[in-house]
């Protein structure tokens, strides 16, 4: 699976897709593969405020827990409720249907400071 060029990425294996002032966030294919079969996702409440670096959501597999950290400050606009009954969607479609949270952010341009697809792939191969 490739890494969509229109997305941005963090060193912690989150992807971010920005539309207007809303950032949609998920975990990358690499992250889901490392975690293994995902069995549970803990989602934040819509409307809650988050600061940069805070835990937005947690993704649990049988043997590990991965935190999804807020890449910027914002307010939770939407959560992917479908993950409550089908957490394995993250394994099957991590970059699309497996999105986790959408947050409204004050400064959409902050996204440009994150890694682009090429830089993220380079990070992975450096391993």
């Amino acid at each position: 699976m490739g890494y969509p060029v229109e997305y941005r990425y963090t060193r912690d294996h989150e992807w971010i897709s920005v539309e207007g002032n809303v950032a949609r966030i998920g975990i990358t294919d690499h992250a889901q593969s490392e975690l293994g079969d995902i069995v549970f996702v803990e989602l934040p409440s819509v409307g809650s405020a988050v600061r940069t670096g805070e835990i937005l959501a947690t993704v649990e597999s049988v043997k590990a827990v991965g935190d999804v950290n807020a890449p910027f400050e914002g307010t939770v606009r939407e959560v992917n409720e479908a993950l409550e009954s089908a957490p394995e969607t993250i394994n099957a479609a991590p970059h699309a249907d497996g999105w986790i949270v959408a947050i409204e952010i004050a400064d959409p341009s902050a996204v440009d400071d994150l890694l682009d697809a090429a830089a993220y792939e380079a990070l992975l191969s450096d391993g």
Partner: protein, 483 residues
């Protein structure tokens, strides 16, 4: 294999308990209708032969130390002497109510007191509490002592505990339950604690450090005295996790290394049985500054009698209903009496000999990230054996050869870790066979990988669907779904 709920119910008259020999009034009158149960718990009524057969069948699905090699790193699965079971079942020790006056329990109090002395001697530390009933419980108690120490000194800003990235999960968990935050200190390329990394963290917010000695890679911290000196100089305390005590019995004492709290795992080092997950015991030994804070009641000697001391005003309180796992303690006591000083020293020697022997035999087949003489355990990696083969696959294939897998995926600092601790009770024949099997599995990994991927083939159940268990937890028998 059925559960006990899946047998045809057996209407049988109860022959276990006698008929009432007092005039009965009926519970509706004695207790009142409103408080009485109206339903019947769905616990089956079965004949004794049925129950006996069921649990015997279940036992055969298990794997105990008598079934074969059990090289679980950090668990010290040594042989459990059967005399331990004999002494623990003596009615004079077992049929004893904990609230019986000390005067009427002098036999037990005497051996508990003696055991505490012996544990203090092994640790090289003056204060001992037998109350903690598991290693993690000992860790928690130790963290409570740290907290109390700094509270008494008015140093409540000391809220951080340092621990190495190779620490066992209970270490940070225990620190967190006691209200501390944890900071990880990385290991250096020797696999030991990075002194500079440690020093950088030593400020006025440090409560102390939690270490396992030797560490979870089976390597002794050569800089241990420097570590504890620096932590003490910075105003902190040192907690030593004693899971790996089997490696230095009879040669070294944690108190001499600068430990302030040291916990024992009686169900590891001192041969008490693991029980499928307990009961264990995690007594702690502590340095002088912490003695006042130990849990109450203490067992003290008063002339030739033993008494409870409830008075220590600065005690943290209690961490157990009574005095700890007394019948586990008696097993460890019996073991210590049998071994004596010479026996303890011999245990560590053969434990370390066995681990190094296996390491030497296996390191050409499996990557050994830290290629040095080890103590009682060592860590290999299952990575790079063959394309697509993981440590999990190796572990499951070992089951087909009748060997319990080693500890896997721990410590976290080794990728695809396989932690192997043979213990001293294994003979050369067993070790050689294990090494032969491991070498054979490495070949299978290359030539017949499906054998590993689909292992185990010869076990009571094949590989289980963990994701299903986690996604849709069924944690009790589904009576309602099956009617």
């Amino acid at each position: 294999m059925r559960t006990i709920f899946e047998y045809p119910s057996h209407e049988r008259s109860d022959g276990l308990f006698p008929e009432p020999d007092v005039p009965t009034a009926g519970l509706e009158r004695l207790i009142g209708d409103g408080l009485l149960r109206t339903d019947r718990p769905r616990i089956p009524d079965l004949s004794e032969p049925t129950v006996a057969r069921h649990y015997t069948a279940l036992s055969k699905l298990n794997y105990g130390v008598e079934d074969g090699f059990y090289p679980l790193g950090s668990c010290t699965m040594k042989y459990n002497p059967k005399v331990n079971e004999t002494v623990a079942r003596h009615p004079g020790l077992a049929h004893l109510h904990p609230l019986a006056d000390a005067e009427t329990a002098q036999g037990t109090l005497a051996f508990l007191h003696h055991l505490a002395e012996l544990l203090g001697g092994i640790a090289g530390l003056p204060g001992v509490s037998l109350q903690p009933v598991a290693g993690a419980h000992g860790e928690l108690t130790g963290m409570f002592l740290f907290k109390k120490h700094f509270e008494v000194r008015g140093e409540t800003e000391r809220r951080r505990i340092l621990l190495p990235d190779s620490a066992h999960g209970t270490n940070p968990a225990s620190a967190a339950v006691a209200g501390f935050s944890v900071t990880q200190v990385p290991s250096d390329d020797r696999g030991l604690i990075d002194l500079e990394g440690l020093e950088r963290e030593l400020d006025g917010t440090i409560a102390g450090v939690m270490l396992t000695v030797p560490n979870t890679l089976g390597l002794f911290e050569r800089d241990i005295l420097a570590v504890t000196e620096k932590v003490h100089a910075a105003g902190g305390l040192c907690y030593f996790d004693g899971a790996n005590l089997n490696s230095f019995l009879g040669r070294a004492r944690p108190g001499d290394m600068g430990a302030d709290v040291f916990h024992f795992n009686l169900h590891k080092t001192l041969s008490t049985p693991h029980g499928g997950g307990g009961p264990g015991a995690g007594p702690i030994a502590v340095s002088e500054p912490l003695v006042d804070y130990l849990p109450v009641p203490r067992i003290e000697r008063d002339g030739d009698r033993y008494v409870f001391d409830w008075d220590p005003p600065d005690s943290i309180g209690s961490v157990h209903s009574f005095y700890g796992n007394v019948l586990v303690a008696v097993r460890a006591y019996a073991y210590l009496l049998q071994l004596g000083d010479e026996g303890l020293r011999a245990v560590a020697e053969d434990a370390v000999l066995n681990a190094n022997y296996l390491q030497a035999r296996l390191k050409s087949t499996y990557p050994l990230p830290y290629d040095r003489l080890c103590k009682h355990e060592f860590v290999l990696s299952g990575a790079n054996l063959a394309e697509g083969i993981s440590t999990l696959d190796v572990a499951k294939r070992l089951i087909d050869y009748g060997i319990h897998p080693p500890t896997i995926y721990f410590p976290l600092i080794v990728r695809e870790a396989l932690m192997i601790e043979p213990t001293e009770t294994e003979g050369k024949e067993t070790l050689d066979r294990f090494a032969d099997v491991m070498e054979r599995i490495a070949v299978e990994a290359r030539d017949e990988p499906e054998l590993l991927h689909e292992a185990p083939h010869r076990a009571p159940v094949r590989r289980l669907d963990q994701a299903r268990a986690a996604r849709n937890p069924v944690l009790r028998y589904p009576f309602d779904e099956l009617s």
